[in-house]
C-alpha cells in the first residue's frame, strides 16, 4: 500500500485516494476540433519507468486533486501539490 502525502490532510493511506490520470498530459482546449489531438489525449499513454507525474484524487479526504510525483519502479513518492496551485 502506498502512503501518499496530501498537501491538505498530510500523509494518508492509498486507500483514501483514487488514481486519476497521467499528469504530464494537457487536456486540449474546448475549441480543439482535431480528432487526432483528442485521440492522443484520451488513448495514448507512455508507460515510463522511473519518476512520473500523476493526478490523484483525495476522494475520501479533502476531495482535492493532487499532483503526485512517484517512481513507477520503486513506488517511492517524492512529493505532492494541489493541482490548482501548480502552474499550468
Amino acid at each position: 500500500m502506498l502512503r501518499i502525502p496530501c498537501p491538505v490532510c498530510g500523509l494518508r493511506d492509498e486507500t483514501e485516494f483514487t488514481y486519476g490520470a497521467d499528469a504530464t498530459l494537457r487536456r486540449p482546449d474546448m475549441e480543439e476540433t482535431d480528432p487526432g489531438v483528442w485521440h492522443d489525449y484520451v488513448f495514448i499513454r507512455d508507460n515510463p519507468q522511473g519518476r512520473h507525474k500523476e493526478y490523484w484524487h483525495h476522494v475520501s479526504g479533502c476531495r482535492q486533486w493532487i499532483l503526485v510525483e512517484r517512481d513507477t519502479l520503486t513506488h517511492e513518492i517524492f512529493g505532492s501539490s494541489l493541482v490548482r496551485e501548480v502552474a499550468a
Binding site: M1, R3, R27, V59, I77
Partner: protein, 987 residues
C-alpha cells in the same frame, strides 16, 4: 528413534502437566511445550505423510521452517488444516490428527505412489494431460482422483465461530524478530524515546537464545532485557505475532495469534488480530534457517536439522535420540553435538570438510564424539524411522571416494549451512545478494528505511549481532551487555550440501523439497527438459511452493541447478519472495468486514416508513430502496403490475432520495454546465430545469439527469443513483485541472435532500391539496419548478416525468423526508394514492422507452440510444469530437429499439438477438438491455440494442438466452411503446 524427556533442564513448566492428543493417542506435556516437542517426547515418529508419495515423515525442524509435520487441529467448526506442529503451542485438551494419510498414518495406501514415482516426476500434471487426453472426460476423471490423493489438509465447510479483528498502528521503528539483535535494537530505540513496535512470532522473546541451555550466561541478559522492555512505555511488544508482509511506503502486515493457544477464545477476545503497521523505519532481525543436506533417504523420520535437535534438547528438554549422527559442512553443528553427547547420546560427526578447526575437534573429542572429517552421510535406511546411516569418505565436491560404513543410529542431524530469513526484505526490494563465503543470499544491511541485523546478515558472532542491533536501534555510547560464545552461523563453511555416489547418483530418493516431494532427480530432470530458469524450475517441479514456500529447500534446489548448468549461484538467480511469509488465515484479513459490515448501507430518510409498511427492499449500489409493496401476500410480479397500473390510472409516490444531487455554484456555473452537458445550458432561465446528457471524453454516454437553475449562479444537478460519485469526481477533476479558470464549486448534496416522485393523472390534485398552491399547467408547465410548503416543510417542486405520466419531483430537506411522505399518504385517500417501488418504476420507464443504467452501460453512444437530437451543434462539450469517430458513426452499430415478445414468456436481459433465418451462434446482432411485462400494453416487452435497429421495425427476430437455454421470438418496434407523443406527461 527413542526420544525421551530429560529429567532436568528445558524452558518448560514442569510443575504443571497437560495432555494433548494426536491421532487418537494422548501425550503428556508441560506448558511451554509445542505440539511437536510433546509428540517427540512421547515417541511419535511419524507425524504426516508426504504430498505425492505418501512417504512417512517426521519432524525436521523446531520452528517456522517445519515442512513435514503439518497436522489437522481441533474438530468441527474450529477444525484447521496445515498447522505446523512446531508452531502450535501445547495446551490441555489440544486435539490434532494427521492429514494426507488413509487409512492410517502407519499404513497408508497412497504410499503405492512411491512405487509409481517414475510416473509422478516433475511436470507430471502438465505432461499427463496434454495430447490425446486434454480436455476429455478421462482427464477430468483422473484429475478428481489425483486431487484426492495429493494435497495437504482438508478445510472445514462449517462457518468459523470466532471473531477476528483488524487494527491500525503507527510507529517510529518496527523491529521484526526478538532474538538478541532485535531486542538490542528495541532497547536502544526505546531508550532514546522512539515509539517502537517489537514483533516476535514465538510466544517468548529471545529467539536463538531460547535454544541455549538453561543457565547459560545469556539467560541473565535476556531476563534483564525483558524487564526493561516491559518498563519502557514507548515500546509495544507483540508476541505470537508474525510480520508476514512488507509493503510499499513502510507498511507492514502482521497477524497476532491472540487466542490460538487455547481451546477456544475467551469471551470477548478475538482469535487473531490483523495489524496494519505504518512505520518510519524498520529493523529486520529475523534470523536464519538451517539448510538441510541432500542424500538418499534424507526424508526419513529421524533426519532433522541440527538446530532443531538442539532446540528440542535445550528448550524442551527432549533428547531426540540415543545414537545421533551429525552431518555437517560447517562449524555451527559442533556446539549441538557436544551438548547432545553431554546429555547422554552417542554422537558421531561426519564433516564433509577435511580440515576442521582444532578447537572444535578437541571439544568433540573430549565429549567422547566419534569425529570423521571428509566424511558424509550417503544414505539413511530404516522403515518408519532412521535405523542406520551409511557414512562414506567424500571429496570436497561431496562425491563418495570409497566404500560406506554402516552406523546404527536413530537420529541424523543435518547442518548444510544457513539461509537468512530475508523474505520481508526481498518482498520489498527484490533480489538479495549472494555471499560467496557464506554460500547464501543476504539482504543489504542498509537500504531505504530498512536495516538488517544479526543472523539475517550473517553476523559472525552473538556479540556482533548485539552490536548491530544496538546500532540499528539508534544506540550510541553504552553498548549492550556482551557475553558468551557464538558459533551459530555457518563459519568455515564448505559449500556442499549434496552427497552422491562417485558417479553422481544417489542410492535412493534424495529430497530437496520435503513438503512438495521434490527429489534431486526432479531437479535434474527439469534441467534435462530445459526448465533451467529458476522461476521455471519452481513451477515445473513445484519446489519451493506450498505452505512453507521453500524455507528449507530454495537454496539446495538453486545450488543443484547452478551445478548442472555449470554456473555460479548468483548467475542462476533466485526466486522473488512475495507475501505472506507464513500462511495467514482469510478470517484475520477479513476481520469484521463481512456480511452487513462489508460496506456501509445507505438509507433514505424515508426508509423506516417503507419497512414499517411492508415494503420489500432491494440493494441498489450501497442504497437500500423499496422494491415493491406487496398487498395481501402478492408475489413480486402481482405487486409491481398492480403498482404500475395504479400509477397510470390514479397516482403513486416513489422514494427517489437516492438520486445523485450536486450543487453547482459560482459565476461560471452556466459555462461549466454548458461544457459537461451535450445540450445547451447557458440559456436556461432561473426557475426552469432541463434534462441533460453527459458524455465521457471518448464520446460514449456517461450519465443523464435534470439540472435546475435555482439562482443566477446556483444550479441543482441531479445524476443517476449509480453515477453520483463518478460525476462529482469528474466535475472536480475538470474544474481543478483543466478548467481552473472557471469559478465554480461543486458540492455533493445527495444526503441533504430527500426526494419523492409523485406520478399519475391525479398527481396535480394531490399536490394542490397538500400545498394549497396553484399548480395549473399554465403556472407550472413541464420542466419548471416552484417552491411550496407541505405541512410546515418548505420544499421545491420540480415538474418532470420519468414514468410518462403527469408527474412531479419534490425535493425536501432530508430530515423532513418522512414527514412529507406521510403528509402525501395522509392526503392520498380521496385520490387513491399509493406508494410504488423500483420494480414498477422500471416497468413504467421501459414502457416509455426511457433509458437507465442498463442502456447507459459504457458501450453506447447518443446515436445508439436515439438521443442524437439532444446534442448541440453550436458549442463544444466533453466528448463532442470523439463521438464523431467513424467507428461510432457506423450504421451497423446496435441501436435502441423496443421488442414486443411473442408469447407469454418474458425475455431475460442479456439475451442475444439473431435474425429469424440466421443460426443462433456467436455474439448475434445485438442484445436485450431491459425487460418487463407491460401492464399498459398487456404484453412482455423489452428494450434492446439491435444492429441497424430503427430500420428494422416490424421484423421478427430470435431472442436467445444461452444461459437459460431459452429462445423467444419478438417483433422489433419503436422503444417509445406507450404514449409516444407525451400527451399524458404534458397534460
Amino acid at each position: 528413534m527413542t526420544a525421551r524427556r530429560l529429567l532436568g533442564g528445558g524452558r518448560i513448566d514442569r510443575s504443571r502437566q497437560i495432555t494433548v492428543q494426536f491421532d487418537g493417542r494422548s501425550f503428556l506435556a508441560h506448558p511451554g511445550d509445542t505440539l511437536a516437542s510433546a509428540l517427540l517426547a512421547g515417541g511419535q515418529k511419524i507425524l504426516g505423510r508426504s504430498f505425492k508419495y505418501h512417504r512417512p515423515r517426521g519432524l525436521v525442524a523446531a520452528g517456522v521452517e517445519e515442512t513435514n509435520a503439518l497436522v489437522h487441529l481441533r474438530d468441527g467448526e474450529r477444525h484447521e488444516p496445515n498447522a505446523q506442529a512446531t508452531m502450535v503451542e501445547a495446551f490441555d485438551g489440544l486435539r490434532s490428527t494427521p492429514q494426507n494419510a488413509w487409512p492410517s498414518l502407519q499404513f497408508d495406501f497412497g504410499a503405492i505412489n512411491g512405487l509409481l514415482s517414475r510416473f509422478f516426476g516433475a511436470g507430471f500434471y502438465y505432461k499427463t494431460f496434454i495430447g490425446p487426453f486434454s480436455g476429455t472426460k478421462f482427464w477430468m476423471f483422473c484429475e478428481g482422483f489425483i486431487r484426492q490423493a495429493a494435497g495437504m489438509g482438508r478445510a472445514t465447510t462449517l462457518a468459523d465461530p470466532d471473531q477476528y479483528e483488524k487494527i491500525n498502528a503507527f510507529c517510529d521503528v518496527l523491529i521484526v524478530g526478538a532474538g538478541p539483535a532485535g531486542i538490542a535494537a528495541a532497547l536502544a530505540a526505546g531508550r532514546k524515546g522512539d515509539n517502537v513496535i517489537l514483533v516476535e512470532q514465538d510466544r517468548d522473546l529471545g529467539g536463538s537464545l531460547l535454544s541455549e541451555p538453561v543457565g547459560s550466561p545469556s539467560d541473565g541478559w535476556l531476563a534483564q532485557a525483558r524487564a526493561e522492555l516491559d518498563d519502557l512505555p514507548n515500546i509495544r511488544v507483540l508476541t505470537r505475532t508474525t510480520a508476514f508482509g512488507a509493503y510499499d511506503c513502510e507498511v507492514f502486515g502482521l497477524v497476532e495469534r491472540v487466542q490460538d493457544h487455547v481451546l477456544a477464545p475467551e469471551r470477548g477476545k478475538p482469535r487473531q488480530r490483523y495489524w496494519v503497521v505504518r512505520t518510519s523505519r524498520a529493523v529486520l532481525a529475523t534470523g536464519a534457517i538451517e539448510r538441510p543436506m541432500v542424500f538418499a533417504g534424507n526424508d526419513m523420520p529421524g533426519v532433522m536439522l541440527t538446530s532443531a535437535v538442539r532446540s528440542y534438547l535445550n528448550r524442551y528438554a527432549v533428547l531426540a535420540g540415543e545414537r545421533i549422527v551429525v552431518a555437517t559442512n560447517n562449524d555451527s553443528a559442533y556446539t549441538a553435538a557436544v551438548e547432545l553427547a553431554k546429555s547422554g547420546a552417542k554422537v558421531t560427526i561426519c564433516d564433509i570438510r577435511k580440515e576442521i578447526p582444532a578447537q572444535l575437534g578437541a571439544n568433540a573429542k573430549s565429549a567422547g564424539i566419534d569425529l570423521r572429517p571428509a566424511h558424509a552421510v550417503l544414505k539413511v535406511t530404516g522403515c518408519k524411522g532412521v535405523k542406520a546411516a551409511y557414512l562414506v569418505p567424500v571429496s570436497s565436491q561431496g562425491k563418495a571416494t570409497g566404500g560406506s560404513v554402516r552406523v546404527a543410529c536413530d537420529i541424523v542431524a543435518m547442518s548444510g549451512g544457513w539461509a537468512p530469513t530475508l523474505h520481508l526484505w526481498s518482498q520489498r526490494f527484490g533480489k538479495p545478494i549472494y555471499s560467496e563465503g557464506l554460500d547464501t543470499f543476504l539482504p543489504l544491511a542498509e537500504k531505504g528505511a530498512f536495516t538488517c541485523v544479526g543472523s539475517l546478515v550473517g553476523s559472525a558472532s552473538l556479540r556482533d549481532a548485539l552490536q548491530q542491533g544496538h546500532k540499528a536501534g539508534g544506540g550510541t555510547g553504552k553498548e549492550p551487555a556482551l557475553f558468551g560464545h557464538a558459533d551459530f552461523w555457518g563459519r568455515n563453511l564448505l559449500p556442499v550440501t549434496v552427497v552422491t555416489k562417485a558417479d553422481g547418483g544417489t542410492p535412493g530418493k534424495a529430497f530437496v523439497d520435503f513438503q512438495h516431494d521434490v527429489k534431486l532427480a526432479d531437479i535434474d530432470q527439469a534441467y534435462r527438459e530445459g526448465y533451467v530458469s529458476i522461476e521455471h524450475l519452481k513451477r515445473y517441479t513445484t519446489s519451493g511452493m506450498a505452505a512453507d514456500q521453500g524455507k528449507t529447500s530454495n537454496l539446495n534446489a538453486l545450488a543443484r541447478m547452478a551445478e548442472l548448468r555449470g554456473l555460479a549461484i548468483p548467475n542462476v538467480g533466485t526466486t522473488t519472495f512475495r507475501p505472506p511469509y507464513t500462511p495467514v488465515t482469510i478470517g484475520a484479513i477479513v476481520a469484521h468486514d463481512h456480511g452487513l459490515h462489508l460496506r456501509p448501507t445507505r438509507l433514505s430518510t424515508i426508509h423506516d416508513w417503507h419497512t414499517e409498511n411492508g415494503a420489500e427492499m432491494m440493494d441498489a449500489g450501497l442504497w437500500l430502496r423499496p422494491w415493491y409493496y406487496p398487498e395481501n401476500g402478492e408475489s413480486i410480479t402481482e405487486a409491481y403490475v398492480r403498482e404500475a397500473i395504479h400509477v397510470r390510472e390514479h397516482v403513486g409516490i416513489v422514494d427517489v432520495s437516492t438520486l445523485g444531487k450536486i450543487a453547482v455554484q459560482g459565476p461560471d456555473a452556466a459555462e461549466f454546465l454548458n461544457r459537461v452537458y451535450v445540450n445547451g445550458f447557458k440559456t436556461l432561465p432561473v426557475g426552469r430545469l432541463r434534462y441533460g446528457i453527459m458524455l465521457r471524453e471518448d464520446g460514449f454516454v456517461f450519465d443523464d439527469g435534470a439540472t435546475a437553475r435555482i439562482g443566477e449562479y446556483d444550479y441543482f444537478m441531479s445524476t443517476t443513483t449509480a453515477n453520483a460519485a463518478k460525476v462529482l469526481a469528474r466535475a472536480e477533476y475538470l474544474l481543478q485541472t483543466a478548467w481552473r479558470d472557471l469559478k465554480v464549486h461543486v458540492t455533493s448534496v445527495t444526503d441533504q435532500w430527500a426526494a419523492i416522485a409523485v406520478a399519475g393523472p391525479k398527481s396535480r390534485r394531490v399536490l394542490t391539496d397538500v400545498t394549497s398552491a396553484d399548480l395549473s399547467r399554465e403556472v407550472l408547465p413541464n420542466n419548471h419548478f416552484t417552491y411550496v410548503t407541505i405541512g410546515d416543510v418548505p420544499c421545491r417542486l420540480h415538474r418532470m416525468s420519468f414514468s410518462g405520466e403527469l408527474a412531479y419531483e419534490i425535493y425536501i430537506p432530508a430530515k423532513s423526508g418522512r414527514k412529507v411522505w406521510e403528509a402525501l399518504i395522509a392526503a392520498g385517500p380521496p385520490h387513491n394514492l399509493k406508494p410504488y417501488g423500483l420494480e414498477a418504476m422500471g416497468a413504467l420507464r421501459i414502457e416509455k422507452g426511457h433509458i437507465a443504467g442498463s442502456e447507459i452501460e459504457g458501450r453506447t453512444t447518443m446515436k445508439d440510444l436515439g438521443l442524437e437530437g439532444f446534442a448541440s451543434s453550436k458549442k463544444p462539450f466533453v466528448g463532442s469530437v470523439l463521438r464523431k469517430r467513424p467507428v461510432l458513426e457506423d450504421p451497423k452499430r446496435p441501436s435502441l429499439v423496443g421488442l414486443e415478445i411473442i408469447g407469454n414468456q418474458g425475455a431475460t436481459a442479456g439475451s442475444l438477438l439473431f435474425a429469424m433465418n440466421a443460426p443462433a451462434k456467436g455474439h448475434g446482432e445485438g442484445w436485450v438491455s431491459s425487460t418487463t411485462y407491460s401492464p399498459a400494453l398487456k404484453k412482455n416487452i423489452a428494450l434492446a440494442l439491435l444492429s441497424r435497429g430503427p430500420e428494422r421495425f416490424g421484423e421478427t427476430i430470435q431472442v436467445v438466452d444461452f444461459v437459460g437455454n431459452q429462445t423467444l421470438h419478438a417483433k422489433v418496434v419503436s422503444h417509445h411503446f406507450f404514449d409516444p407523443e407525451g400527451h399524458r406527461q404534458n397534460g
